[in-house]
Amino acid sequence: MAADTGETPADGFGRVSRTKDVAFRLLALAATLVGIVSLAALLLNVAVDAVGWLDWQFLTNPPHPNPYEAGFLPALVGSIAIMLMIALVTFPLGVGAAVYLEEYANDGYLTRFIQLNIANLAGVPSVVYGLLGLGLFVGLFNIGYGSVLAAAFTIALLILPIVIISAQEAIRAVPDSQRQASYGMGATKWQTIRNVVLPRAMPGIMTGTILALGRAIGETAPLIMIAAPTTVFGLPNSFFSKVSAMPLQIYNWASYPQTEFQYGVVAAGVVTLLVVLLTINSIAIVIRNRYQQRT
């Protein structure tokens, strides 16, 4: 370009601006990378610290005050049990709400209110959901301090707005022509939803739900509020048994002063939690990619 050949005006306007331009570009790039690089460095640290601690014995033992015998099994099983319950609760409720908002509701006052309300619920701090669980499920319904059910219901309410919003996006992405074709064949609204809209939107709904479950598995504060025990030695054997979870166990161990815990056992716990989280998110991404290839 002619402007770049160095024919700067006498007042040096062009040169100054270009230096500033390059400097700003580099500054912006550095800002973009600083968070990512910091997180990568921290992850590398914790991975190195976990070496030697994250072994079969750690994954199959119950917690123990001696760091060399401490294990993660009850927390691991507890987390997975809670997560499965959450999936069972949020999936039908989230899809139902999304179907209503996208397929049935007219653009009236009530719909806009529900929509605004869902957006607001997604911004309520997780510790407040913990108080809801404490007052409602533990207090009013009396399903037990820190039980599997109380934990699952509380976190289910927490991730429900995320599930609804992503399911709505998936349903909105189904082309209207397909609905019209279905109506043209004489199908009712419900038949159209069941045979056309939901099958078409399902991969997107699944992806959103699984990603929300990833968020659920890392939640700690709500579990503390419903008084889930930070350390549990046995596996949960009923919906009402007291349950611990991976992040809760990590929180508990992080307060132990011994170096073997701080830079060993907890690191192994953190890596386990992150590996489970990564697995969940990978499943979501695989589903999304397979779907994208098909269409």
């Binding site: 912006a28 709400a97 605004l116 911004g123 701090p125 609804i164 419900w190 890392g218 509020m225």
Partner: protein
């Protein structure tokens, strides 16, 4: 079937209506959740305020729910929250804004395609993990590098971690707002001989200001509600802060509202005492603050949507 079968039409309609109401119930559950949150908080908070006066709660400068002399002044907790919010804002707002400018104005499509998911990972890491990082890696690192006297539990590393966590919130919403700025504005500026720097800072950012503002409020509301990072790394010392003494603010242990709630929640005070009830009073305060901020953010955001669509 040669003849269309109309006999199931009634059943079909009935089923259709049944499903319609079933789905509607699911959607109404979200309103029920909000009502339940407000009622749960209010009922126990009202109980609490029957024992502790509202004025003492809102103006008291000492928080000591379990140790004599008992005091339930929420101001030390609010100042703890304020420290974390200021600290994380100093980290996340400039970095997030620059990131948004880079992604929207400078990055190629290919580079954006891997930078954006990488940034989203920052928001996806469980907060308990960030708290652990702040305690065992960030605090010792800062202590080793800077010539300051840093406590084991301090507001500085907790704020940095909260800041890093909310970067993607600022950057993704701001970037959406910047991408919504019509290209004609950029072209007009280029036509006048402006560089990309001038276009970004003098045209795109002002045009996207309401979206950027909305992302700031949302991110700060997130920082205020953040619990595990501060519970693990910021300590449990409820104290009033002195805004003129930044070192004292950040280098020592503090206690934000969320951390105080965790402390009461992990304690053994189950039952009906004022310490247990104070959990709901603090929770209500937290809920009201974040709720108002989210609403403002929503209103500001809907304004910019109207302008450019």
């Amino acid at each position: 079937m040669s003849q269309p079968d109309f006999s199931h039409d009634g059943i079909r309609t009935a089923r259709g209506i049944a499903f319609r109401y079933l789905f509607m119930l699911c959607a109404l559950l979200s309103i029920l959740t909000t009502v339940a949150i407000i009622l749960t908080l209010l009922i126990d908070a009202v109980d609490f305020f029957a024992q502790v006066s509202l004025v003492d709660f809102l103006t008291g400068t000492r928080w000591s729910p379990t140790n004599e002399p008992i005091a339930f002044g929420v101001l030390p907790l609010i100042s703890g929250t304020l420290v974390i919010t200021i600290g994380s804002a100093l980290v996340a707002l400039p970095i997030g804004l620059l990131t948004a400018i880079y992604l929207s104005e400078y990055a190629s499509d290919r580079r954006r395609a891997y930078l954006k998911p990488a940034l989203e990972v920052l928001a996806g890491v469980p907060t308990v993990v960030y708290g652990y990082f702040a305690l065992v890696y960030v605090t010792p690192a800062i202590d080793a590098i800077l010539p300051v006297d840093l406590s084991t539990f301090n507001a500085l590393s907790a704020s940095i971690m909260v800041g890093i966590m909310i970067i993607p919130m600022v950057s993704s919403i701001s970037e959406d707002a910047m991408s919504a700025v019509p290209d004609s504005l950029r072209q007009a500026s280029y036509g006048l001989g402006a560089t990309k720097f001038t276009v970004s800072t003098s045209v795109v950012v002002p045009a996207a200001l309401s979206g950027i503002f909305s992302s700031f409020i949302l991110a700060l509301s997130r920082a205020i509600g953040e619990t595990m990072i501060v519970a693990i790394a910021a300590g449990q010392t409820p104290r009033m802060i002195d805004l003129t003494d930044p070192a004292g603010m950040f280098l020592d242990s503090i206690q934000p509202m969320t951390s105080a709630m965790v402390q009461i929640g992990t304690g053994d005070i189950v039952g009906q005492g004022p310490a247990y009830k104070s959990l709901f009073a603090v929770g209500l305060t937290l809920f009201v603050i974040t709720f108002v901020m989210n609403l403002i953010s929503e209103l500001v955001a809907s304004r910019y949507r109207e302008v450019y669509r």
